[in-house]
Symmetry: D2
Subunit: 335 residues, 4 copies
């Protein structure tokens, strides 16, 4: 009942401290007989790898996954899949000094208050490093879903200078780009901005927008496990996430009903908590990393997590969809 | 695994169609030996009662609760508490015509797609009437929590005309008021606006702001059942809710880290997903009710659900807190 | 997390005290579009009805089910099904004297120790009356399962005088009989024996044997939710059950491996915790009711619960099978 | 929802195939600040180690545990504890020939029918090697329980020649002995018998008796999670277990109520599904291993699993008790 498990039919159990020997995840409920590609899994992990961009933390870890169960001759067995990732690059001595320092906006103090003990070498379980578990599980979730489903997350806002909300119809046409921007043409300016923040031991918040195309109809389990509710939980379970919206989101607070029904896409692909087959639209807001000023002087802080977080958002979406897809499948014969 | 259960140690199982004989809820995990007051429960139910204001739906139901288990001589027994509410005021003939009509923004179509069948007499499970289950459970949740906890939700925004975000420090000093406004002095103007919308068969969205004072420290179970994550799920499980924020919420996407740590309250009482003992601040955005135009001509639609929804928001918060309070209690001896 | 819920995809939430106004159950996870027959449900309930035989308790209740949700025009909606049964025949005054009496072998004392409070008017939740919830759920479970499945439970042993274990191949050919005996020809003798016990304020234990024909292969979820494990839990959750065996059961403790594999049916239809498609064989032992001597003088005690318990055993088997059937269905496309 | 998780507040997630690189378990819900001793954990694992006795399988594995999370400076952190055990001694070539052989009484065929794929190098998940996960979790469960609790399991019956049921009052006075017998004086005879069976490629079943002293009162959660029900599930989840009894168990089917209440210990420490503080008595029957005749010629089969299974029985009991202890703790303040 401690909260390290997510999902019901497709479920993941996350474990590992950022400065322990390994991080890992056990994924249960992956159907049998699915083809597994280590290369594809590695590609997903590379998207959140620290050190991938000069704009991010300098903690550099290869994050090579080691599958120790549930896969045989590159096929899933239907048994739980355990995947491990080594923590190579921890320099515990960096953190020793911080044993009694509780950074604002962090879990340092609340962890100690809750458990009466804390792995002070680093963030422990509260480290964003825990999110490797989600990227790994997201890969396996993608094997469960119909191949036609497309999930993509991009940065739509970054601090008070960069508002990049594109015409949504073109969302899936935006080229791949290193910083995961909705407007790749602004990459140079944003890179300069982030490097400057890093030098100043500062950080910045922002918003990630995500879309799902070709989601099957009928996913979501009212009254409580509505698709929007489980997506919200998934997003808010990510470190630093402080807001969730779907469809027109908070814009709805300025709209009348007559306005709202002009365009069915305003409802973001979810009606009554159940997917309606249209594109699902989400927005997820991240606070700026609280490791600033003197805490950020080791060179290992991240001025902006969003370029590495888009894959985490995508992964959590896939996990929720895979879980609901299996849940609905259990009843599909009776419909 | 159908999604009608919420909570782990304090859990509720909701049931009932809006046009069936009764709605109800089974609440399990309520500790024994707590004093139960039907009057207090009735007061909570009265806050969401349809027909309580002329501005709301004219469907008028007394919503008198009948406790049929788990309480003996006004004390909880520790066994599951079942509470029933009669559906007196349904006029099924009103809805017969709508058998084949699927209202946009509603669950009509998605329900049919998901289950292959639908109780067309009304919203069925998708009716906002289901939320009585949450108000009942919220009352019992309040018995579980320390008496010092205060939870309050008020309307902070209503359409594009009424922005009412008060100085937060005064949140608990705002007088009780019929429409649950953060600025009660605007009640007449807002009442006029809502009655006008009703006449026009229109509706409006808005935002509810909620605060929790004196929340114990240490509630929330990372990595996935962070307090913010379970609150987000709770809020998004409510009909018509389309956005959730805590602390500075989406304002964070315009802030730097140095700005953000100026005021610890920016983090909204939750750090690392765990309550830190400070005031918890939430914002919940509702879309406008989609029952407009010809669908709204029966006089039984609601131009604005927010005045009746504040108690639902409060109830879901209490439910989440009670659940996490019990979860933490299980381990409290070892801390 | 209080333990009033059973099952994962097909789940029931039981509630009600024996001397409260009503008993009930909420069943979630019943697929939509199934035909419901109140007559068939009533027939199942009649099998466990107190007072059905002169050999049983004289507490006589009609146990008429009232479905208040989840069924519309005799079809399941896919939403939670709540069914209520009135407690008509409780005579609380009978029990008032027993307020401070804790009967050995009963939950009287342990309930008080656990919860610090007890509904002393009767057994409360610990009353065998709680098992109506299982019979109701068992009926709905039977709607989920393939029509070819047959489940039957009969008394194979009754005290030290009646050993009735028939040739198993004929199990389903034994005629229906009032006392649910494997050897109906002994009904008169057994009836005399039970009436004599009743007169003496005594009771007797026994064993019920159950079989399942045409169970689909592949049900059961190792490592922990093996079919045998969930059946064991289901059986031991029934009041007064003290032993569970499947296949050759405890006879295996006298066998060698070479003996055991002579007949595959020795394994009772379950290998590796998964159904193999052969007949499933179970044995369930009940202790004698502990209400004897002066506690049994009201005329409302039951000298032998087994004639009324066969339907409870059958119901719990159906519930376990329905749950596992849905669990396996979720993955069936990938096999 | 695949069944590799056991327990609610104290929960374990088991993973690993017998011929994969490692077996393992994630244990969540272990309170923080408990002292961990690798030596004590190793001692528990040694009790079930294959090859510990000449009478058992010759597959010899040291089973050295590697803790990779949840423990810091020999203290539990309150975060999930992952422990891994290497599979050193698998000789896959031994098994290659058995790719298409389905041994009766084994999971070979049912696994293939259920999942459509099977790790044919060995038992995969169905291997008794999976039970290391339980012994590891059992060690951590013992840290959660009050120190005064004592749990012991011994062999009380072995085939049709060795009936060893001792005077129960002396159960905890029986000396430690290599083969875990209730009558250690018969060790030589039993050893000879088992070595003879091994030579003959045969095996034998038996019964293990277990006792718990000083169990706190009030553990068990009716109606479904009665202590007896969860113990039954725990036992039946162990490979080869075919029967469970508590208290007088199946002897009750020959007793009258008046007989049964002569001795409160007949109820085996559980009344109404709740522990009453008296000694808990269980019996667990194992079928003989089905690997006999030609399947047993590799010298790596086990003629009798019981000497290695007593620690598994003890571990599962501790796991159930730890889980229920935490469940009850959550509510203990309100009693």
């Amino acid at each position: 009942m401690r909260g390290n498990t997510f999902g019901k039919l497709f479920s993941l159990h996350s474990f590992g401290e950022s400065h322990g020997p390994e991080m890992g995840v056990v994924i249960d409920g992956v159907p049998s007989n699915l083809d597994v590609s280590i290369d594809d899994l590695q590609k997903e992990l590379d998207k959140r790898r620290p050190g991938k961009n000069p704009e991010n933390t300098e903690r550099n870890e290869a994050d090579m996954p080691r599958i120790i169960s549930g896969v045989f001759e590159n096929k899933t067995l239907g048994s739980p899949i355990c995947v491990l990732i080594k923590n190579n690059n921890h320099r515990s001595q960096d953190y020793e000094a911080q044993k009694n320092i509780h950074r604002p906006g962090h879990a340092d103090e609340t962890t100690l208050l809750k458990y009466g003990i804390r792995d002070y070498r680093g963030g422990g379980r509260a480290s964003a490093r825990e999110t490797v578990s989600r990227v790994i599980a997201g890969y396996f979730a993608s094997l469960v879903l119909p191949r036609s489903i497309k999930v993509r997350a991009l940065i739509s806002q970054l601090g008070n200078q960069f508002q990049m909300d594109n015409n949504e119809n073109n969302f899936f046409l935006i080229p791949e780009n290193r910083l995961q921007l909705m407007q790749p043409q602004r990459e140079q300016k944003i890179s300069d901005y982030l490097l400057q923040l890093k030098k100043e031991h500062n950080s910045v918040g922002g918003t990630i927008k995500a879309c799902v195309e070709n989601c099957p109809v009928g996913l979501g389990e009212p009254a409580f496990d509505k698709l929007k509710a489980d997506l919200a939980k998934a997003m808010l379970s990510i470190n630093a996430v402080v807001g969730f919206e779907f469809g027109q989101g908070i814009n709805f607070n300025q709209m009348t009903g007559k306005d709202s029904i002009q365009n069915r896409q305003n409802f973001g692909g979810i009606e009554g908590g159940i997917s309606n087959g249209q594109r699902i639209d989400l927005k997820v807001t991240f606070k700026p990393v609280s490791t600033v000023n003197e805490y950020a002087k080791s060179g290992r802080h991240d001025p902006c997590v969003l370029p590495r977080a888009t894959v985490i958002v995508e992964s959590m979406i896939k996990i929720v969809l895979a879980d609901h897809f299996l849940r609905q499948s259990a009843y599909s014969e009776y419909k």
